[in-house]
């Protein structure tokens, strides 16, 4: 989707559809209609987006309180509303958010105001070097490259090549001991429901990709999962049986995907 079409509010926007599915009000009628269409195809989706979004507070605490990262760089952040990373990190942590959508960036800056240590930039997550090499970002980091990256609820919008490229760029740029929290959506693209959802996203110019865990593991090399490994969303939240047999036909059992802390 070009920046121009992101500003066209007569077309559904995936970020705002996501917000609607989460129960937010940062969306327009066209996004709500799109969200309702997706829900009608796959009633599990609103649950899945919550399972996914709930992880962010956990990630913020784990990365900062438990693992001592002083800086989190988040790509494709969406809106930093309550429950996003900066609301749960240890005091003094620097959080650098970014998103490609200009409306989202404007809105986010308004939400954040002068919140200390929290920044928001416009950037494309497929080319992380553009954000990392910005003079403002270099100044904020002050040479610190032992950081935690986050790509949450976004790799499904990236091609295999894009993910592999991002993995390489982040790895080369960061210092030993850095971390990458990332979420993978897994599903069966051949299932009729999945096909209709994928068709819909393709039609609005935002193709979505389901890929198996084994493929994803390869793509993120040379990053390695930590001792927690790839956890399903249900495992992540200590839940069971959030899905029906129908849901599991087209999207991975355990909540629809896996979250992982990858380490360098």
């Amino acid at each position: 989707m070009s920046e121009k079409s992101l500003l066209d509010t007569t077309k559904p926007n995936p970020g705002r559809i996501y917000d609607y599915l989460l129960g937010g009000h940062h969306n327009f009628e066209v996004d709500r209609r799109a969200g309702d269409f997706i829900k009608s195809l796959a009633p599990f989706v609103p649950k899945m987006v919550r399972l996914t979004r709930w992880c962010l507070q956990d990630i913020a605490r784990t990365l900062t309180y438990e693992r001592g990262y002083r800086c989190i760089i988040d790509f494709a952040s969406g809106l930093p509303t309550m429950g996003h990373l900066h609301t749960a990190v240890a005091p003094g942590t620097v959080v650098i958010y970014s998103d490609r959508d200009p409306i989202c960036v404007e809105y986010s800056r308004e939400i954040l105001g002068d919140t200390p240590n929290v920044y928001y930039f416009q950037a494309d997550c497929r080319r992380p070097e553009e954000l990392l090499n910005r003079p403002e970002v270099e100044a904020i980091l002050g040479g610190n490259r032992r950081v935690a990256f986050v790509y949450w609820a976004i790799t499904g919008f990236m091609t295999d090549e894009e993910i592999a490229n991002v993995a390489r760029v982040l790895y080369d740029w960061s210092d030993e001991g850095s971390c990458w929290a990332v979420f993978l959506m897994e599903g069966n693209p051949e299932h009729p429901t999945a096909k209709r959802i994928l068709d819909f996203y393709r039609q609005i110019g935002e193709p979505v990709y389901y890929r198996p865990l084994a493929v994803f593991r390869e793509l993120v090399q040379p990053w390695q999962p930590d001792e927690l490994g790839f956890r399903t969303l249900e495992e992540w939240h200590g839940l069971q049986d959030t899905m029906t047999e129908d849901d599991k036909q087209f999207i991975a059992a355990g909540g629809g995907g896996y979250g992982v802390y990858l380490v360098k």
Binding site: M82, G83, C104, Y107, I111
Partner: protein
């Protein structure tokens, strides 16, 4: 009709059912977990239910409706869904009734206290929810305008 039972008496009564109240509220929250927004991850629901039970007990001590209204307000801002709110109210009524039993003469006073608590809570919740929807709409409009202006520059 017997005379009004004092709040202190009611508090002592409900306190004997403190654990049951927290457990029932937790079950209510878990049932509707997927209707809330981001701030109520499943692992935190038990703690949240405990706080909710304590908030009601505190109200029976001080009768402060302003505090309750503020609580409703804060929870609306954090994205607690109306379904969760209604389920919490129901849990409160059920456990309230059980606390009054078998001395049913306690019930009218307790019902009155639950009513005042619920009204104040819902008032804070509903006002904040409406405000927040309007604010989000306005901010979205402004952000769109600014983005369009920047693009035109």
């Amino acid at each position: 009709m017997g005379s009004e039972v004092g709040m202190e008496e009611l508090r002592k009564r409900v306190e004997t059912r403190r654990e049951a109240l927290a457990a029932r509220m937790r079950a209510a929250l878990e049932e509707h977990a997927f209707t809330n927004r981001a701030l109520f991850p499943p692992r935190q629901l038990a703690e949240f239910a405990r706080q909710e039970a304590e908030a009601f007990l505190a109200f029976l001590s001080d009768g402060d409706e302003g505090v309750v209204r503020e609580r409703g307000r804060a929870l609306a801002q954090q994205g607690l869904s109306h379904r969760s709110v209604l389920a919490l109210v129901q849990a409160l009524q059920e456990v309230g009734w059980e606390s009054a039993n078998p001395e049913v003469e306690l019930w009218p006073s307790l019902q009155g206290a639950i009513g005042r608590y619920t009204r104040a809570f819902l008032e804070g919740y509903m006002v904040a929810r409406e405000e927040s929807i309007l604010e989000q709409q306005e901010k979205t409009r402004q952000a769109l305008l600014r983005a369009l202006q920047r693009e035109g520059q």
